[in-house]
């Protein structure tokens, strides 16, 4: 089988594997182009190219600042991972034709659902975490139900959720604790049966070994500065792989593309569009809880301001990752690269000592460029017809 020639008509990027049977019977009307050209129309290409550029840039300007030491890399990977967790599921939701502006507030709400009962009322931490997941599933269900029942844009429905959830979090937290912050969760994590799923580091032995070999910086006591990989990075990789599997290889994935591509057509041929949307909203809200659990258990405290603007950051990562704002096309891998760009630039600007205000300027411009690029790709895929 010759892998150099691939179908030239802008192949829909979501099918990477070309079956042997298909190649064997290739039509003579299929022009042959390079694999490179075919790769160029994949939705995540822009983000991957962007990631490479960003890395080259910071290797040049901040190569000796400690950004690319083990400790530095763990830092920007952790920032990227937390956003990437949200972005992987936000990509599914956006491909399904919707977005969720309430997820940032959902993070704050979940933080308090975890913190208040466990600290103030002495509930076991694991029960609070499960409760937070259950409540966010309910909120996601309500979001989805309102969107599919009313046909209102999710922009407006979840904008309402953004304010309601944030306000509710503030009111309840102040009402119960008289404060806006609850701390002291660190002590509960060590003895909790599920605490370690959301906090701490993994691969400690590997990092210690790298320290012994002299590959990464160590403290005076011989332990490495970077003690291990934060669990959030595993969640990030795991969720991205899961979302990609769903999108490309499952029936539900086909329903997501169909629902976002043309909901009327999808429904008319038997796709349960309403169910797909509701499930996606539930998954998104529950991902907010996952984010909250990781942040609260890692930092040991919950704050009513947690998650502020995360809804926009997630949308930025998804769009930079090549997903169309209008739905029907995109990739979870792209979104995770979008998150990596975000995290790298955010930490990179910190390491280079540039005023962090410039980060926002960069973000805005990057979004605009990404949207223009996505539009171009979409026209190529649909043959601009």
């Amino acid at each position: 089988m010759n892998h150099q020639d691939v179908p030239a008509t802008p192949a829909v990027p979501i099918e990477s594997s070309t079956s042997a049977a298909m190649l064997a019977r290739r039509d003579e009307r299929v022009r042959k182009v390079s694999r490179w050209r075919q790769l160029m129309v994949r939705p995540e290409m822009g983000a991957i190219a962007g990631t490479i550029l960003v890395f080259i840039f910071f290797l040049i300007v901040a190569g000796d600042s400690g950004m690319f030491s083990a400790k530095g890399m763990v830092n920007f990977l952790e920032v990227s991972a937390q956003l990437g967790i949200l972005a992987a599921i936000a990509a599914l939701l956006m491909i399904g034709g919707e977005f969720d502006l309430s997820v940032g507030s959902m993070i704050a709400f979940s933080s308090m659902v975890i913190a208040i009962p466990s600290i103030v009322w002495g509930w076991p931490l694991w029960a609070c975490i499960l409760l937070a997941f259950a409540l966010s599933a309910l909120v996601g269900f309500i979001n989805g139900l309102i969107v599919v029942r009313t046909g209102l844009p999710s922009f407006i429905v979840t904008l309402a959720g953004l304010f309601v959830l944030r306000g509710l979090t503030l009111a309840l937290t102040r009402g119960i604790t008289n404060r806006t912050q609850v701390s002291g969760i660190n002590e509960l994590v060590a003895t909790d049966p599920i605490g370690h799923f959301f906090s701490g580091v993994v691969f400690e032995n590997f990092f210690q070994w790298m320290g012994k070999m002299g590959w990464i910086a160590t403290r005076p006591d011989g332990l490495p500065l970077a003690q291990g990989m934060p669990v959030s990075v595993l969640w990030w990789i795991g969720l991205t792989a899961f979302a990609t599997w769903i999108l490309l290889r499952t029936r539900f994935g086909n329903w997501i593309f169909a629902t976002g591509g043309d909901p009327v057509a999808a429904r008319n041929v038997g796709v349960p569009v309403a169910r797909v949307k509701i499930l996606l909203f539930m998954a998104m809200a529950m991902t907010g809880t996952l984010f909250a659990a990781i942040q609260v258990l890692d930092s040991g405290s919950a704050d009513t301001l947690r998650g502020t603007q995360k809804e926009f950051e997630a949308i930025i990562a998804v769009v930079v990752g090549g997903t169309l704002l209008t739905g029907g096309y995109g990739s979870a891998v792209g979104a995770s690269f979008g998150a990596l760009i975000f995290g790298t630039v955010q930490m990179g600007i910190f390491y280079t000592g540039v005023d962090t205000d410039w980060f926002k300027v960069f973000l805005g411009i990057m979004v605009l460029v990404a949207v223009l690029f996505n539009n171009y790709v979409r026209k190529r895929v649909t043959g601009s017809r």
Binding site: A11, V12, G270, G383
Partner: protein
């Protein structure tokens, strides 16, 4: 008389103040082709959307094998073996041909968490079914947005033929097709009828309608004017009943008179 596989009894459909259908009854029988005729806006598409679960009737009943049913969704109708080619084709431009073909009814392989799309089967079947309609699919992973109107129409038809186990409904399926492709579609309709399917066929072309139809139902401004057996009507009579048919006959006579003068 054979019992109708799919029937409407005294069905009305209102969209707010718009009366799209009023007290319409039709019956599609196994092994027969029912041809729906009528002007634009007569309510033909509304009628077939009611039959395929897109709309719920405002009044009246839907019967399957003589039993009243409620079709909750197009998925429900498909599960009962009713497949439809919609006038707008119901394809998603950004998705590939194979993904569109199996949209809503994707075949899977593997068990439990490893259950996944049977991609090889999807590509194979799409190629084969499209080939039956005379379309050589270059690449099943190609986006439907890059297909021509006729190719897209054939995709929608091939899909309905593949999934329509009992009833096949086609809403103006030949409108974007060339002469050759249209005759292929007519042949497919005849073949479906021979397999014992009930076929409901909407067209504005008498040359497409007359050869394959067993019965004609004429809709006018949301009402049914009547149902005729083919043995009771001539081709010219059908032409006259069709949208603009009368005008066409008149025009022909006019032109003849003009050239004779």
């Amino acid at each position: 008389m054979t019992e109708a596989v799919l029937a409407l009894e005294h069905v009305s459909k209102f969209f707010g103040t718009v009366i799209a259908l009023r007290d319409v009854s039709i019956a599609a029988k196994a092994g027969e082709v029912l041809c729906l005729l009528g002007d634009n806006g007569a309510g033909k598409s509304t009628l077939i959307k009611t039959l395929s679960g897109v709309h719920k009737p405002s009044e009246g009943k839907i019967l399957i094998d003589g039993t009243p049913v409620i079709l909750d969704s197009p998925r429900d109708a498909l599960d009962r073996g009713i497949a439809t080619v919609f006038q707008d084709l119901a394809t998603v431009p950004l998705m590939s041909i194979a993904r569109n073909f199996f949209m809503g009814r994707e075949p899977t392989t593997g068990k439990g968490p490893f259950r996944r799309l049977d991609w090889d089967y999807m590509c194979e079947t799409t190629r084969k079914e499209m080939k039956d309609l005379g379309i050589d699919v270059r690449d099943p992973t190609q986006a439907v947005g890059t297909l021509s109107g006729g190719e897209r129409q054939c995709l929608a038809i091939a899909r309905a033929v593949h999934f329509g186990a009992r009833v096949l409904i086609l809403d103006e399926p030949t409108s974007a097709l060339g002469v050759h492709q249209a005759s292929v579609v007519l042949r497919i309709i005849v073949r479906a009828r021979a397999r014992g399917l009930a076929v409901i066929f909407i067209t504005h072309n008498v040359h497409h309608a007359y050869p394959v139809a067993d019965e004609f139902t004429i809709l006018n401004r949301g009402r049914s004017i009547g149902t005729f057996h083919k043995s009771d009507v001539s081709r010219d009579a059908v032409l006259e009943m069709m949208a603009g048919g009368k005008e066409l006959v008149d025009l022909e006579a006019e032109l003849k008179a003009a050239s004779a003068a």
